[in-house]
Structure formats: C-alpha cells, structure tokens
C-alpha cells in the first residue's frame, strides 16, 4: 500500500491537545472576550475559552505557538499589528489556521513558519488542517470536506514563511484585505481550490516572495483589486493545477493592481526558475483584467503558458498599462495545448512572438523566452523585515461575517499610480 503519509506534520491539534483537550472542538468555552495574556497565557488556550462568536484579543508579545481556530464566528485580533507576533520559530508548520466558518484573523503578524503563516481551509481532520498531505495520489474530495464559509483576513502581516504567507483554499465567501506578505518561498498570498468562490483580495502588498500572489484552481467571483504585487520574482499567477481539485482555473476579475518590477533578488528562489515576470497565466481561462499597471518586469509583463493539456484561453486585457516590460505579452504554450482567444485592448507591444496578438480570436503563435541567469535564492528566514505596517482601526461592535462578500464597484477603480501602496513596501523605498 502507498503510505500516503500526513507529510505536512499536521499535528497542530494533537500538539494542542496535550495542553487542552477541547482546543480543537467546535464548542466548549463560554467567554465572549478573552485577553491574551491577561486571562490566559496562550492564544491556543484563549481559543479554548472563547465562546463561538466571541473575540480573542491579543496584547503585544511574541507567541511561540500555532493556533487552530475550529470554532464558529470567532475573531482573533491583535492589539497592535506589528507588535503582536505569532512566531513559528523556523520549525512549526503553521501560524494561525481557521477551519470553522466565520473566522476573522486581524491586526497581527505571523512569521517564520515552515509551511503557512495564515491558512483558511475546509480540508482538515481531528489532527488539524491537511493541506498537501500525501503527494497527490489522492485529491481533496469536496464532498467529504466541504469548503469553509465566510472568512476575513484583515491587516495581517505574514513574513518569512516557508511556503505561503496567507493562504485560503477549499474556502468560500471571504476577504483578504489590507495585508502584507513577504519572504515566502512559494507565494505571499494564495487562493486555491474553489468554485463560485466569492473571494475578494484587495489592498494587499506582496513583496520579496518567490511569487507575490498565486491562484490555483480558484474560479468565478475571485476579485483581485488594488493590490501591489511588486518586487517579487514573479508578481502574480493564475494557474490550473491537476494536483488540486477543480481544474481549470477560470474567470477571475483582476482590476487596478500594480504588478511591477518583479525581479527581486533578495528573496527565496521560485522553484521552477520564475524571474522577471509580471503576471503568469498557466492553463488559466476566461480571466478578465482591467486597468492594471503591469510594468518594469524584465522578461515579460504577461506570460501565457499551458498546464499539461489545459490551454490558456479567453483571457482578456482591457485598458491595462503594459509598458516597460521585456515584452508586454509572451506566449510559451506547448503545441499540445495552444493558447487561443487571449485579447489585449488596446494592443500592446512588443509581444513574443511578434504576431501574437494579430488575431486574438483563434489559436495563437508560440515563442521561446530567452534564457536568463536567475540569481540564487535567499533563505526564507533571512528575507528583509517588512517596514512598519499600519494597525487596523478599532472596528467597534460587529456582528458575524455576512453570508456573502460585498464586492467593490469595479467601475470606479482606475489604473493605479506607479507608487500604489509604496509607503508600505520596503522594495519601493530604495532598500532593495
């Protein structure tokens, strides 16, 4: 028998269980507000104490723990975003993981985990989340592990995490907002494996990651607006991936983002050699891109490729600024899955090959990007610290998260300035 081990060392709750046996249960606890460390010493104990719908309020300090929030409608909130730090110590897999509906994670920093800083997922068992367990001989079964509903990640800083900074998969109806991610050896932000996701990704900064923002197999109603994905090795990707459920990736709305200068050397390397790319679409389909500023990426502003037999098709770019890149758009799709129907209006130049956009309605010609020397990576634990990040204003009294996300009015979102959110980004401040 294949062993299909839980390779991800997902003993989060098992670990917790030594301290408090009910910590991973869905109930228990009766307090609507628990202070850490005022009432209990650890965030985990606070989650144990808090009632569903309650709040865990964390005072400044470094918390050497990993926290699983398996209780409905709980808010995990730091009193000071930069000074409340959940630290993985370079050896714990997770920072804060939400496996219940309606969880808010806000105003804190998560750093130095070996896998994920913040994770929201419906895929979990009594041992905690099971992202990437086994090696894909089996799949997420969405019937067995229905997506978590309603989540909010707001004003969270995730830095120096081994794989992903802030990650949601098998999750619907959520917001990732005004957050920051750096130093991820995979991607700073990752939204994956959902259909009719109803997820908003807005106002975030990703820098010094292998990839700034990644979407694998998250489709329809994923709205990505007003983010800064600059100063990574690759700015953002929209990809289909057979290793996970719900291929192909399709129909995201990407508006008003800054995706610039993605050839940052002082980051972990992108494991397949990615470098100098603004937006990569691999086997992604029917994505709508409006008024993004995609500039200064030395190899390509936009790169089209296939994922195995899944072609990049039907992606449309309208009124984007695509200047100052090695080429504006490149197509490197293999012959077995040729790109087609990818249209750029107004037409952008140069492209690879030169006639790539001549007729965007049919099959499109393919070229080869010139090889480049990619600089060696920096350890994720040694990537530069983020500049000071603003704390979240006191939200006052709030009810549970709503059933669906209120999306911004996209018509009002212009092409962003070249210095969008620059005050929050180290790479924009001459420290690169």
């Amino acid at each position: 028998m294949l062993s299909r081990p839980l390779t991800a060392l997902l003993a989060a709750c098992a670990l917790v269980a030594v301290l408090a046996t009910t910590a991973c249960g869905g109930s228990g606890g009766d307090r609507s507000l628990v202070h850490v460390p005022g009432d209990v010493a650890t965030i985990t104990k606070a989650v144990d104490r808090v009632a569903p719908g309650g709040t865990v309020l964390i005072a400044p300090g470094v918390y050497d723990e990993q926290v699983v929030v398996g209780k409905r409608d709980v808010t995990i909130r730091g009193e000071d975003r930069d000074a409340v730090v959940v630290d993985g110590g370079g050896r714990r897999p997770y920072g804060v993981v939400a496996t219940a509906d309606g969880v808010r994670i806000e105003n804190l920093t998560v750093r130095r985990t070996t896998f994920y800083g913040v994770l929201v997922t419906g895929l979990h068992d009594e041992n905690g989340p099971s992202a990437h367990d086994g090696q894909g001989y089996t799949h997420l079964d969405p019937d067995k592990f229905p997506p978590v509903q309603r989540f909010s990640i707001d004003h969270v800083t995730a830095t120096d995490n081994g794989l992903y900074g802030i990650y949601a998969f098998d999750a619907n109806h959520g917001v990732i907002r005004d957050s920051y991610a750096s130093g991820s050896a995979d991607s700073g932000f990752y939204v994956g494996q959902c259909r009719s996701c109803d997820i908003l990704v807005q106002g975030n900064v990703a820098e010094r990651n292998a990839v700034g923002f990644e979407n694998a197999n998250a489709s329809d109603s994923v709205v990505i607006v007003g983010n800064r994905f600059s100063g990574n090795r690759v700015g953002m990707t929209l990809i289909s991936n057979y290793q996970e459920a719900f291929t192909p990736q399709r129909a995201n709305t990407v508006v008003g983002n800054l995706v610039s200068d993605n050839q940052q050397a002082d980051t972990p390397e992108q494991a397949t050699g990615g470098w100098g790319i603004g937006l990569g679409i691999s086997g992604g389909q029917d994505n709508v891109l409006l008024r993004n500023r995609i500039t200064g990426n030395v190899r390509a502003g936009v790169l089209l490729a296939n994922t195995e037999d899944l072609a990049a098709t039907g992606n449309t770019f309208t009124d984007d600024v695509l200047t100052g890149n090695g080429v504006a758009v490149a197509n490197v799709s293999a012959a077995r899955a040729p790109a087609s129907g990818n249209c750029v209006t107004p037409a952008a130049a140069p492209t690879l090959p030169a006639d790539l956009l001549a007729d965007c309605h049919g099959t499109q010609p393919t070229g080869t990007l010139p090889a480049v020397d990619v600089p060696a990576g920096t350890s994720f634990l040694e990537v530069a610290a983020p500049p000071a990040q603003p704390s979240m204003p006191d939200p006052g009294e709030r009810g549970p998260l709503p059933a669906t996300v209120t999306m911004p009015d996209l018509d009002t979102i212009p092409v962003p300035a070249a210095d969008l959110l620059a005050d929050l980004a180290g790479t924009a401040q001459g420290s690169s």
Binding site: M1, L2, S3, R4, P5, T7, H132, G134, Q135, G136, Y137, G162, L163, A185, D186, A210, Y242, Q243, T247, T267, P268, E269, Q270, A271, T272, G273, E308, D309, A334, R336, A376, G377, T378, S379, F380, L381, E382
Partner: protein
C-alpha cells in the same frame, strides 16, 4: 510501503534485513540458476503461476516479475475484417497458452515452471472491431519517435512471455504465434531484470526502479484494471524500447545523477525518507529550491501533475551489443499497465517537456495494446471483444 522494520522491501533487496529477509532471498534464488546449466529435473523449477482468472497472468502476478522476458509484437495476416479469423485465432492462442502452462509439453519438456504469457491487441485490430474500444486510438508521436524504424511502432498483437528460465521463452512464443494464422513477428525483445522483491529492482542505470507502483488488489483495481463491462479485467499496456546512453549518464557525478532521477541509487528520495518512501513534491530548501528537483524524472513522471492513474511499471533491461557507431544498443524496455491509454500519453508528453532523464533515452520501438481480460478453457481468450 512503509519501512516496516525487519522486512522492508529494501531489506529484502539488499539481503540485510536479518533472518526473515535472508530466507526470502534464498527462496527467490532457487528459481534463478546463476550461470550454470539448468538441470532437467522438474523438482527445482519455480512454482507455477495461475494462468486463468479475471485477469491474464504476467501483468500483476507473480508479484515479483520473473527475471527473463520475451516481448513479441506481431502483424496479423491480411483481410480487411479481422473479425472471424482474429476471434478464432485468439481462442486458439489462448488454448495454446493453457496447454503450455498446464504441464510438460513438447515445447517445454520440464514443464512450464513460472512461465506466464499474456496477449494484447494494438489499435489497428481494436479499431476494426470497434473504434470506441479502449486503446483503439494510436498514441500521438512523442519526442524522438521520428527515429523509430518502420514496422516498430504499429503492431497488431502483443505476446508477452516471462519466466525464470530464459530458454523456455522462445519455444513457447513460437507455439503461440503458430496458433494465430498468418501472423508474423515485427519485432521481439529479450529482456532481463536484476534481483528484487516486488517490482523493485535495479534498472540499467543502476537505480532502484519500480518503487512507486500500485500494490494490492485495491490499488490495482483503482489504477490498472478496467473495472466495468465485458472488458473488466483488461488493462492497457504501453511498450517503449528506450535505448539508454548509460555511458554519458555514468560520467555524471553521483550527485548529478541523483538529481536527474530525483532519488539516490538505492531509492531514497532526495526529499528524505527511506528507500521506498514517496518523493515529497512540495519540500524545498530554505532558499526555495525543490528538494525533488524541478526537472528530475521522479517529479516529471509523478501522476499528480497530469491527474493520471498510477501506472504499474514492470520494465526489462535489454542488450543487443554494439551498434555500427560502437555505442551499445542497450537500455530499458519500458513496460507499463494502466486502466487507460491517457495515463501513459499524458505522462510521456510531460516527460518530453520537463524531464532531464529524457535526453539520455532514444525510443527505438513503441506500441500500445489492450491486454485482454483473463480467460480459461470455457471462456476463450478475447471472446469479450465480441460480447
């Protein structure tokens, strides 16, 4: 596949697993005479392998492949409609197989030993019977296929024989071919395997091969056998005769070789774990490089990237001596089984794009076949095709 202490598959391979392992190795050893002449008594022959049942022998049973094999690819005699002739020919071939494996015969005076013979049909005859049959469509051309000589990539019938006794193969093959009227041999390859337990043995590059395969009835049912309908118990076999540039591979530093494969020669994944551990596709160095290298064979071939079944691989080494240019016509006769043709096709297309092992291989023959469901005296070989 866990590394059970004491009797792990590695221990059996290396004979270091203590008393239990040593005994198992000795038992395997009795079926394989080393160099010396085979004796003519029947008593020391390997135990027989059941020929009848839901599936044909030699695909998944015996669990440890016999160390000698002969794969023959045939062209059927003329006739636009292979139907009636093929139907009776297959039935006759099946009867011959049952005769050969049931006891001493003219061809095999010492009896069959552990001889297995299975038969498959290529896309030509399958499409003529019914173009919607599994594997009735020919494979696409893969990288390097243009160099395959004519007649070596479009066979009609596969007859695959395996035995501990290499001398049993040719007489048995001739008898089976003779029962198929008008059939001629397009190509045939004698293959051999190193010692091993289960499907794991060293391949011609010196690496343990056959580590990650479906094992046990559940995994075989899920990945290898057609599950439903009249063809339940059939499977799709792909043969690729891959000449290997072993000299160039061996000239690489050991670490470089390991990075091409994604494992050490004894099977240990570069991502950690014992010799039968699965590779970890996500694990990275702190600097962001994959521990199972981005272009390693183990990553490239991994079924998760193509959403494929896990194929059963039971390949054999071949060696035909020097070519005109002095290099060896030697390598791996790659043999795999899966419940659809797409599993191989999608994987090979991916290998062509992302596998650093492929530049060391040259395809010299190729074929895909539907290995027919099992048969017995009452249910002739191939009768399900006309069900």
């Amino acid at each position: 596949m866990s590394d059970t202490p004491g009797i792990s598959r590695r221990a059996l391979l290396l004979g270091t697993g203590g008393v239990v392992a040593a005994a198992a190795v000795a038992a395997v050893g009795t079926a394989v005479t080393q160099g010396g002449p085979t004796t003519s008594t029947t008593t020391d022959r390997a135990p027989g392998v059941r020929a009848t049942g839901r599936t044909q022998a030699g695909v998944a049973r015996p669990a440890t492949p016999q160390r000698q094999a002969l794969h023959a690819v045939l062209r059927l005699g003329g006739g636009a409609d292979p139907g009636p002739d093929l139907r009776s020919g297959l039935a006759a071939a099946g009867a011959t197989i049952l005769r050969l494996v049931s006891g001493p015969s003219d061809e095999l005076p010492d009896g069959p030993g552990d001889l297995t013979i299975h038969v498959g049909l290529g896309p030509g005859p399958l499409a003529a019977i019914d173009p919607t049959l599994p594997a009735a469509t020919a494979m696409p051309r893969f990288a390097g296929d243009d160099g395959i000589p004519a007649g070596r990539d479009d066979g009609d019938v596969l007859v695959a024989l395996a035995s501990s006794d290499g001398t049993a193969l040719r007489p048995a093959l001739d008898a089976v071919v003779a029962s198929l009227p008008g059939a001629t041999t397009l190509w045939a390859e004698h293959g051999f395997r190193g010692p091993g337990q289960g499907t794991i043995a060293r391949n011609p590059l010196g690496y343990h091969d056959g580590i990650i395969v479906p094992e046990g009835d559940d995994e075989l049912d899920e990945n290898v056998w057609l599950a439903h309908g009249p063809l339940a118990g059939a499977t799709v076999c792909v043969l690729r005769r891959l000449r290997l540039d072993r000299t160039r591979f061996a000239a690489l530093a050991e670490g470089e070789r390991d990075r091409v494969i994604g494992r050490h020669a004894d099977g240990r994944p570069l991502s950690g774990g014992g010799p039968t551990a699965e590779v970890d596709l996500q694990a990275k160095t702190p600097e962001g490089a994959y521990l199972t290298p981005a272009r390693s064979h183990a990553r490239a071939a991994h079924p998760s990237f193509t959403g494929s079944a896990l194929m059963l691989r039971r390949g054999y080494a071949f060696d035909r001596g020097p070519l005109a240019d002095g290099t060896a016509d030697a390598g791996l006769l790659f043999v795999c089984f899966a419940h659809d043709l797409e599993t191989f096709v999608r994987t090979q297309l991916r290998l062509d794009e992302t596998d650093d092992l492929m530049p060391f291989t040259t395809p010299t023959a190729s074929g895909s076949f539907l290995v027919l469901p099992g048969f017995d005296a009452a249910h002739p070989l191939g009768h399900q095709l006309w069900a």
